[in-house]
Structures are given as C-alpha cells and as structure tokens.
C-alpha cells in the first residue's frame, strides 16, 4: 500500500497520532483552541501556519514537554497525559533549535543517545555506524561539532532522534535556515522514513514543503485548525489560478480592464489580474484578444494555485515572509 492510500484509509488503520480538543493558554493568551489532529501510521501530517500560529506549542504538548490545559491525545496508542514515559519510549523529537551537544563529536552525540536508549554496547555501536552512514556523516564523525555546517548539524540532530528507532517522529520546522540543497536532502530523508512506516508530524511555514511531503495538511492559524485535507483537496477548495498582466501606462490598463471585465485592476502596479485555468489555449486566447484590441502588454506572470492561496482563501490573510518559491509565481504580491 502506498502512503497516499494509507492516508485515505486512516480510519481503519491504527492511528499514529490522535489529538482531540487540545486547548492551551499562556496567561490570558489562548494559544491552542480545540485542536484536532489525526495522522495514520506511516503517514506524514504537516501542521502549516505562520509564526505564532501555535505549531511549536502543539509539538511541545504532543511530545510531553508541556501539558495541555484540556483535551486528549494518544501517540501510538499511549495516552500523553497519563503515560508520558510510554509516549517518550516510542517518539523522536527534532525541535526547532538544534538539540545537539556542541562539546561532543558526532559519534559521541549518537553514542550518548544509544546509551540513553539502553541499546547495549554492541547494538549501540552498530546503530551509530548505520546512522552515520545513512546521514552521510562518516567523514565528520569524529570531528567536533564546531566544524559542522548548518545542514550537517540538522542531519546529526535528526540522526540522534532516530537512534532509538521511534515509530512516531515530530519535526518542528526541520528545514528552516537550510540551503536549498540541504533542504532537498532533508525532504528525501523524511520521505524514506515515512515509507519505512514511521508516522511523522512536521510543522512548517514553507508552503511548498507541506505540498511536497504531506499526506495530510492541517492549516493552523491563531491556535485554530482552519483547514484540513490532502494537498490536492486543499488546492481544490480555492479558485483557479490567474495571469497578471503589466502595462506601460494607466491608459492601457484602463482599456484592458474594459476589455476584460472579470479581471481586477491594480492601479499602483499598473497591473491587471485575470482569472486563468493555466492551460496554454486559454493563455493564447487572452493574449490574442489583447493583441487584436491593440493593447500592448509589457510582461506577464502566471500564477498556478499553491498553498498560499489556500491560506488566503481560508484565513483571509496572506502568509508573511514567503520562502523561496518558483520564480514564475514570485512576481508582484497579489491583493
């Protein structure tokens, strides 16, 4: 069964992560408001949201670091509230801040984890070697961490999480601050873990990351789940894409906007945003129409729907500080 199929049959499979009505306040500030999450075994669930949405708090609660004010949660069948040590024995957590020991070498960090997981001397040594190899850290294994690059530290961090072969993994913004190549390496590792049957909850503010990795996405905004579904389902909930046309002067913009009443003009940018389904034919028709009306278009950008549109559609606001996207969609900010 593929991961996608597993996600679809999530009701019948033994769930890796189930959270019901989780609430948490810090002082008067309600950080999580009746959050429900479900991740079937061996699937990837992304918790997507901007800074301050409550993603990290949710991970800290699920990983037994802090307790919820109310709600119930089970991780691989263990109740988070009543059997925290049962939960801790099956989970692995890679937080937002690197959780490595800077005064030890890579090997020593992994050995430390093996010892704390009580793997025993021989099995521990084997597991450490395996992970050094799997995470491409053999050459740096006995070097101090001060010589490690950001990507290497992140890989070591994740390798430390995996020493005890957890069945559920929490990754809090696993690729924040990584260069594009390290990011793709990390994605590959995450995919491999899921296909090996590990349940993964990852938080991200990178829309393309959630899109690339997830079986299910839950959009978190100000402590509430505002949308949920597969990446395809979420994309289906929003209108199609659009073409953004830029003009040399306001007169051209005005004529074009009379010609295309369905499009929204943007006077500041001298641009016109016209709905488009993204096919070559519709684009050709649009350009032909403008050409025949002798309206010169300076340039254009094509925008296919992405998760930012989902966010806009369900929360009414944009995600601030969008990460590196396809250059073609990067044009001017939409209204």
């Amino acid at each position: 069964m593929t991961r996608k199929q597993k996600a679809m049959t999530s009701l019948s499979a033994a769930p890796g992560i189930v959270a019901r009505d989780v609430c948490k306040s810090f002082g008067n500030h309600l950080v999580l408001d009746k959050v429900n999450l479900t991740a079937a075994e061996g699937t990837i669930l992304s918790l997507l949201g901007p800074n301050g949405a409550g993603k990290t708090t949710m991970v800290r609660i699920l990983s037994t670091l802090i307790s919820a004010d109310s709600g119930s949660m089970r991780i691989a069948g263990h109740d988070v509230g009543t059997e925290p040590d049962g939960v801790r024995a099956v989970i692995g957590v890679t937080g937002q801040f690197s959780a490595v020991d800077n005064l030890l070498t890579g090997t020593e960090n992994l050995r430390l984890m093996a010892d704390l997981r009580h793997l025993g001397s021989e099995a521990g040594r084997r597991r450490v070697m395996e992970l050094l190899e799997q995470f491409d850290l053999i050459d740096a294994a006995d070097k101090p961490l001060s010589t490690y690059s950001g990507g290497m530290r992140r890989r070591l961090d994740l390798a430390m999480t995996l020493v005890g072969q957890p069945s559920v993994i929490f990754l809090d913004e696993p690729t924040t601050g990584l260069d594009p190549r390290s990011r793709r390496t990390m994605w590959q590792i995450i995919r491999e873990l899921a296909s090996a049957g590990v349940t993964i909850l990852l938080t991200t503010q990178y829309l393309d990351e959630a899109d690339q990795l997830s079986d299910q996405i839950a959009v978190l905004d100000q402590g509430r789940i505002v949308a949920e579904g597969t990446p395809a389902e979420l994309k289906g909930r929003i209108p199609g894409g659009h073409v953004r046309l830029y003009f040399a002067d306001p007169h051209l913009l005005h004529s074009a906007s009379e010609l295309l009443p369905a499009a929204a003009p943007d006077q500041d940018q001298l641009a016109l945003q016209a709905p488009a389904d993204g096919t070559v034919d519709s684009l050709r028709d649009l350009l032909n129409e403008l050409h025949e009306a002798h309206i010169a278009v300076e340039r254009l950008t094509i925008h296919t729907p992405d998760l930012d549109d989902v966010f806009l559609a369900v929360t009414g606001t944009h995600v601030i500080g969008r990460p590196d996207e396809d250059p073609i969609t990067q044009g001017a900010p939409q209204r």
Partner: protein
C-alpha cells in the same frame, strides 16, 4: 533492567558526558583549577609576609601559608562549583535538555551527572592544590585520620555547594548570569576566617564572619590539618553542609521539574 538499574545506567551516561565536557572545555577547567593556585601564590608571597607578622609567628610567611591553605581549599571548591553553574545553565539554555525531556530516561540523571562530575572535578582540584601547598612548604600536623576527615569535610561541603550551584544554574536565565552568581561565594570566603582570623575584624563584620557557613568549615579543616582549635566548629560545619545541601537539592529539583510555562523565544 529495573528502574534503579536504569537510573544508575543513565546517571553514569550523563556523568561520562559531563567529564567529557570538562576535558573539551579546557580553558574553563584550567581557569577554575588555576584560580585557587594563583590566589594561594598571591596571598603567600605578596601579602603573606605582612599578614603572617600579624599572626605573631617568628617566620610570618610560612606561618601564614599554614593558616591560609584551608581557606584556599575552600576557594578551590567555590571555583569548581562556578563551573557547575555554567555547565548546568549551558544545558538548560541549549536545545539538548528538551531532547532529554522527550526521552524515556531517568529524569534525575541529568542533574546527578552534573553533581557527580563536579564532585570529581572538586577532588582533582583539591589534590592539585594540596600538592602545590606542600611544594610551597605547607606543614601539616594531621595524620591519615585527620586528612581523611578533612577531605570528608571538604567533600560534604562541596556536595552542598554543588547542589546550590546546580540550583543557581537552573534559575539563571542565561549562562552569563550563571557564571556571575557563584561569585558571592568568593566574597563570603573573604568575609570569613578563610584568609585572616575573624578576631581582627571590626564588631559587626566580625559577628557576620563568625556566623556565616564558610567560617566553621574553614576552621574545621584548619583544625584537622594544623594544630588550630576546632571546638564546636565541626558540628556547625556539618550542620550547615547538610542544611545547604538539602535546601539546594529541593530547590534544584523543583526548578528542574517545573515545566517551562512559556514558549521559548
């Protein structure tokens, strides 16, 4: 394995980690071990002639050496526990403590590892300082029993101060704070019988000096190693040590078990 076996195994793992830290952070370890030696040399060779004359001995400097060594042994303890605070604060402000907290390990092992690691560092520091003191001509009247008792007293007091340092390290918001707060121990050392007899101090200060915990400890160790009178100082020293250890232990475990209420950053 039983729960106890896990606790022992996890504590040993953490101790190993802390001993490695001491070796990997040699600048700090050397500074903490070196400071008492520098102070000993300073007090014996710079101030010692004059201070020794005040003790009324024929050879002032060597009489002062005999007087000050127990005080500098306490400096060694205070210096080492400053390292404890720094190491604990480094752990607590870094990401690794969260990793430990999400693992099914004996919770106390993180602190136990720090305490045992610091005790070992204290004992090594004391051994080095005693070696230097003898090299400078320190004369002890104590036999093996007195020496064992003195080391025992210092270890017990170190144990108390280490727990205090652990608590201070846990309470500190930053590593800088953690490295500064134990400085008060140094001040207390000077405001006691560590470097000069309290009888030479003016009224109010003298009373403070006689009733603060470092004085009975210094006097007990001095009495055991040289011929000075101990009196009821030993009982006071042991009582102070146990009291501080217990209070600091409770404070430290409370701070440690308190789950952080707010988000980081």
């Amino acid at each position: 394995m039983t729960t106890l076996a896990y606790t022992v195994s996890d504590s040993r793992t953490m101790l190993r980690r802390n001993l490695k830290h001491q070796l990997r952070y040699p600048s700090m370890t050397l500074m903490l071990v070196g400071l008492p030696i520098v102070l000993l040399l300073l007090f014996v060779y710079v101030f010692g002639g004059q201070l020794g004359a005040g003790l009324g001995a024929h050879d002032g400097r060597s009489a002062y050496l005999d007087y000050v060594v127990p005080g500098v042994l306490l400096v060694t303890v205070a210096s080492a526990v400053q390292g404890t605070s720094i190491m604990v604060a480094m752990d607590m402000t870094g990401g690794i403590i969260d990793r430990f907290r999400t693992m099914a390990i004996a919770r106390a092992s993180v602190l136990t590892g720090h305490v045992l690691g610091s005790l070992i560092q204290v004992l090594v520091g004391l051994a080095i300082l005693i070696g230097v003191a003898f090299g400078l001509g320190f004369r002890s009247t104590g036999g093996p029993i007195e020496w064992l008792a003195a080391i025992g007293m210092l270890t017990l007091f170190a144990f108390a101060l280490i727990w205090l340092a652990v608590a201070l390290g846990l309470a500190a918001k930053s590593v800088e704070t953690a490295s500064n707060t134990p400085m008060i121990l140094f001040l207390l050392l000077f405001l006691g019988s560590g470097f000069v007899p309290t009888q030479t101090m003016p009224g109010g200060l003298r009373q403070f000096a006689e009733y603060q915990p470092l004085t009975p400890v210094a006097d007990t160790v001095r009495g055991l190693l040289t011929n000075a009178a101990i009196g009821d100082h030993a009982i006071a020293a042991i009582a102070w040590s146990i009291g501080i250890a217990l209070a600091a232990y409770l404070w430290a475990t409370r701070l440690y078990n308190r789950r952080r209420a707010a988000e980081p950053k």
